[in-house]
Amino acid sequence: MMSEEKQIKDAPKPKPKRPKIPRQPMPEQDAHARAKNFDSVTLGYTMEQAVTEATRCIQCKKPLCVPGCPVAIDIPGFIQLVKDKEFLKAAQLVKQTNLLPAVCGRVCPQEEQCEAVCVLGKKQDPVAIGRLERYVADYEAEHGEIPLPELPSKTGKKIAVVGAGPGGLTVAGDLIQQGHDVTIFEALHKAGGVLVYGIPEFRLPKAIVEREVEYLQRLGVELKLNHVIGKIRTIDQLMQEDGYDAVFIGSGAGLPWFMDIPGENLNGVFSANEYLTRNNLMKAFDFPAYDTPIKKFKNVAVIGGGNVAMDSVRSALRLGADNAYIIYRRGREEMPARTEEIDHAEHEGVKFKNLTAPVRVLGNDEGWVTGLECLQMELGEPDASGRRRPIPIKGSEFVLEMDAVVIAIGTSANPLIAQTTPDLALNRKGYIEVENETTGRTSKKGVFAGGDIVTGSATVILAMGAGRNAANAIQDYLQTGEWWSSNGSAEN
């Protein structure tokens, strides 16, 4: 007979019942008020909310969220620190793998990454990992001194980084900490890439990016603004004449596509890039303090359904449009924009015209936009891939009164660097070909690439991940001098 003690041991333990704490909502500015200002839409968790949210995490032994994160942040680790109110330590832990947590906490599509696989998501809402990441990063910015790490002695090696987007900034941050001299060449008058010229202030305050760039400068990274590589210097000149031992190209994918429909050359038609850049970098939103405004338009149509379109249309509202439309040829469920951004746009009063395709921009005698002719679309039969593509409904033409049209249907690589670097191989879509994503080695010895210039438009975190990989590969290259050849053998 079993002893009483053993019986007690073997009895199934009652599972501790956790009270189901709901996912903490993100405090937001009122939708009507915010549609008229450029201040942050989301306000960030309070300390109580952050700690409450952190207690929802069940600290999985094999956390699915970590491989769901493109840079594998120790998510349960930092969430435990939030629960323990060790916010500075939590921020430092996140920063071990992510240089820009305050950025990623705001703009990463967590719902497709870490949060999509969080085990809680099976039965309830996943842990709000992104919001917690933002909380700890903001806490550190407010309360913590970011200590400068001790740098190793100088190696005497020089690295040139082309482009100060998230990819280039990551490479610079990693390599300066290896003792190399790093110079970033940036075409614009401000560093940050899309983070400063594309994503609007109300979604990502520019001060956050400025702080991170300043931190890199304090570490010793040299920043050369208004330096267009391919014009001022070529990649070959950087390496052969200016003494750089390696170059990282992180020049992004900033060349906008147009629709090629009649009327696109009228005044009042913008690419989203131009529209957002004028607004962000030239501070059109701060007129008359800054005198490079975007004319005030009453009716603005933004073409497209991605993040860039949502940022443009929400900016249009804030710049004073009475009516701001999204014109999208497919159904809402196909929009690549983050659901959160679509919802925000809708709450702010953006009008959605889905299954609608523009066919002509109409204008007056002075050459200004007056309207947009569109067609109603319907979904066709599923094709071989199962996709139901939109096709125009015959005779469904209609005209919307407009005075501005912003085109946000995609971008590709600016060809300048490729044109001035003939031995740099490109892929079919015009992006730089690399050996693989873990090295970023291009066809040209000593030249590495990563981010949107390799993948086409993607995400901030993927560009940063590519930057980190390239920085590791550059470090290897500087130590061994080894290169690769496309037939797989190493070259010296």
């Binding site: 429909i261 096709i391 995609g410 191989a425 079919r428």
Partner: protein, 151 residues
């Protein structure tokens, strides 16, 4: 140009394909990068298949030809005319090729109405369907690329 005889039409269609092969081959030669060269050469190869098909056409082949409904996404139909510029981005290359297929299809559709005789009509319908197939392949590639980018 007379399309009175079956063979006139076949000769014309073969010439059009020859012109298309030449166009894409020359475009490929003008490109600097291997990838763009390959894209144009792939289009030239497709046109070669059409040329071979058309060269072997006889009334019997046409009589047995199966017509089916080819979806028309009409992606190129509302776009302005475009021309080859070396170094043009990939989506522009697709637009150029889509537009050419659209014109070819429209031309054959017009011809159906113009000619008399069932054999000739059917031949033009077949040619139109062949161009429609190419247009659909290109427009599908284009639509996939654009959908991802947010269009």
């Amino acid at each position: 140009m007379s399309f009175a005889r079956f063979s006139d039409i076949v000769t014309y269609a073969v010439e059009k394909e020859t012109e298309a092969i030449r166009f894409y081959t020359e475009a490929s030669q003008q490109e600097q990068y291997a990838a763009a060269k390959e894209t144009f050469l792939a289009f030239a190869e497709e046109e070669k298949k059409h040329k071979a098909l058309f060269e072997n056409l006889d009334p019997q082949v046409v009589a047995n030809y199966k017509f089916r409904n080819i979806a028309d996404l009409k992606r190129s139909d509302y776009m302005v005319e475009t021309e080859h510029k070396p170094g043009m981005p990939y989506v522009d290359i697709l637009r150029l090729a889509m537009k050419r297929e659209e014109h070819a299809k429209k031309f054959y559709d017009d011809c159906v109405a113009l000619v008399e005789g069932d054999e000739q009509k059917k031949l033009f319908q077949m040619l139109s369907q062949e161009e429609s197939k190419h247009k659909l392949i290109l427009e599908t590639m284009y639509d996939d690329t654009m959908a991802k980018a947010g269009d």
